[in-house]
């Protein structure tokens, strides 16, 4: 049985249909990259899994249990954490408070503690008392990832973690992925940086206008295939 599975997952914003029947599944420990142009439905897909957009119960299953209709506060307690697009740290909380609140509803015992997150991103320990708007973009992204890890997720959903960051900072953040995966966490990355995504992913899914246009293992996909799946033909 797959760890997480979506079946015929659809999503609407009012009258606008953002996702058309997405079927996807992945196993424990896998790293999945979702690529696609702006507005392809990638973030919507993550939001639907994280419970910010509600679907039918069967549209999302965690180890066979239907969770598609549950709210976000429930989903995180089941072990699915989202690092939202644009980091969205809490501006009136310090760095450390942001991390602590990540473990607010934590029901799952696991490896991630304040010290473990600080070991992963040592700069956060130095800046623990800072207000988050004072952090650099890269530090904010580290704090947002650390905050999500504090719930001890089995599945970490990352929405555009490289957006707006310098290449050297992106490399720093991606360097943390192996340590996260080493704890048995499955990672789903939504990325516009295709090269970066292909490097770390076990499998790649490409979205185009709310539909899956391509799936496969990075090494098996040609440039041509990706180009067509990304932009349409």
């Amino acid at each position: 049985m797959p760890l997480l599975e979506t079946r015929n997952l659809t999503a609407f914003y009012g009258d606008f249909q953002a996702l058309y029947g997405i079927d996807m599944s992945f196993d424990e420990g896998e790293t999945i990259a979702i690529i696609g142009a702006n507005g392809a439905g990638k973030s919507t897909f993550l939001k639907a899994i994280a419970g910010l957009i509600h679907g039918t119960p069967d549209s999302v299953r965690l180890e066979g249990t239907p969770i598609g209709a549950r709210g976000a506060a429930d989903i995180v307690k089941l072990g699915i954490a989202l690092v939202p697009e644009g980091r969205r740290l809490f501006p009136s909380l310090t760095v450390e408070e942001n991390l602590l609140i990540g473990g607010y509803g934590r029901k799952i015992a696991g490896p991630w503690t304040l010290d473990r997150v600080y070991a992963l991103f040592p700069i956060l320990r130095e800046r623990r008392s800072a207000a988050t708007p004072a952090l650099s973009g890269g530090q904010q992204q580290m704090a947002a990832i650390g905050r999500a890890l504090m719930s001890n997720p089995r599945i970490l959903l990352c929405d555009e973690i490289s957006l707006g960051l310098a290449p050297i900072i992106i490399a720093d953040i991606y360097a943390a992925l192996p340590q996260i995966k080493a704890e048995g966490t499955s990672v789903v990355l939504v990325e516009q940086d295709i090269v970066q995504a292909m490097k770390v992913a076990d499998r790649v899914y490409c979205f185009q206008e709310g539909r899956l246009s391509l799936t496969g293992r990075p090494r098996e996909l040609t440039r041509e295939q990706i180009h067509r799946a990304y932009f349409g033909s």
Binding site: L52, A72, R88, L93
Partner: protein, 289 residues
Amino acid sequence: MTGWLDALIQGVLLGGLYALFAAGLSLMFGVMRLVNLAHGDIIVLAAFAILVVAGKLGLDPFVAAALAAPILFVIGFTLQFVLLNRTLGRDLLPPLLVTFGLSIIIQNGLLQTFSADSQRLRSGAIETASIPLGGGIAIGVVPLLTLLSAIAVIVVLNMIFYRTSIGRAFRATSDDLEVAELMGIEISRIFATAMGLAFVVITIAALYLGLRANFDPTIGPARLLYAFEAVIIGGLGSFWGTLAGGVVLGLAQTIGARIDPEWQILAGHLAFLVVLVLRPRGLFPRAQD
């Protein structure tokens, strides 16, 4: 000269009462962006609750307030959970309309139950006790207790907000509802808990309202106005600002009254307008939003 000094001292003490009125409102607005038009009436309702508990059990109002506080917490929690949570959303109008309706319901419910007679909480000698400061100036024990209670309430609220896990959840929810949910925070419960807490603060405000002066079912809206002005003067989202706002309002009123007794209320409102013109975000606004 003594008269002016006296006006200053009494103004600060009166400010304590206004800060108590305002602290609950500040809390509700700070956590859930709720402008509660029934706030004044809920204070009066709480004063009647203390009156009933004190009367039926033959207790001192201080003890009665302590007994009434947990009951009011539950009422506040339930009110938010069952009713007010449904009104909150992008549209600002529903909570205004619903709390305005609540205000009318509470006023008329109290009139029906307790009549329009003035009531007062009786606590024996303490009501009239005073401490002479020399030079013909004395401060009343109850006004002094009011100010000290206001400071205590602000200190405790700040400790809850900045030193506890639930306080972090209050602030996170206030910052970003959607992401707060992603943290496993159940928004409806957090809001209800905040309202319950606000109702406990309201109980303390009601205790001093009833000890210091007569009250009847119709005086709520004026208390709302003072509370609202104190919150705005102090700056939204800061409890210490709310205390300062209450003191500014109290000072303006006693100084106004010192110039001419008819100017008391007017001077308070004028101070509010002056602050709005000079510092539209209040004296101690929060850094963000």
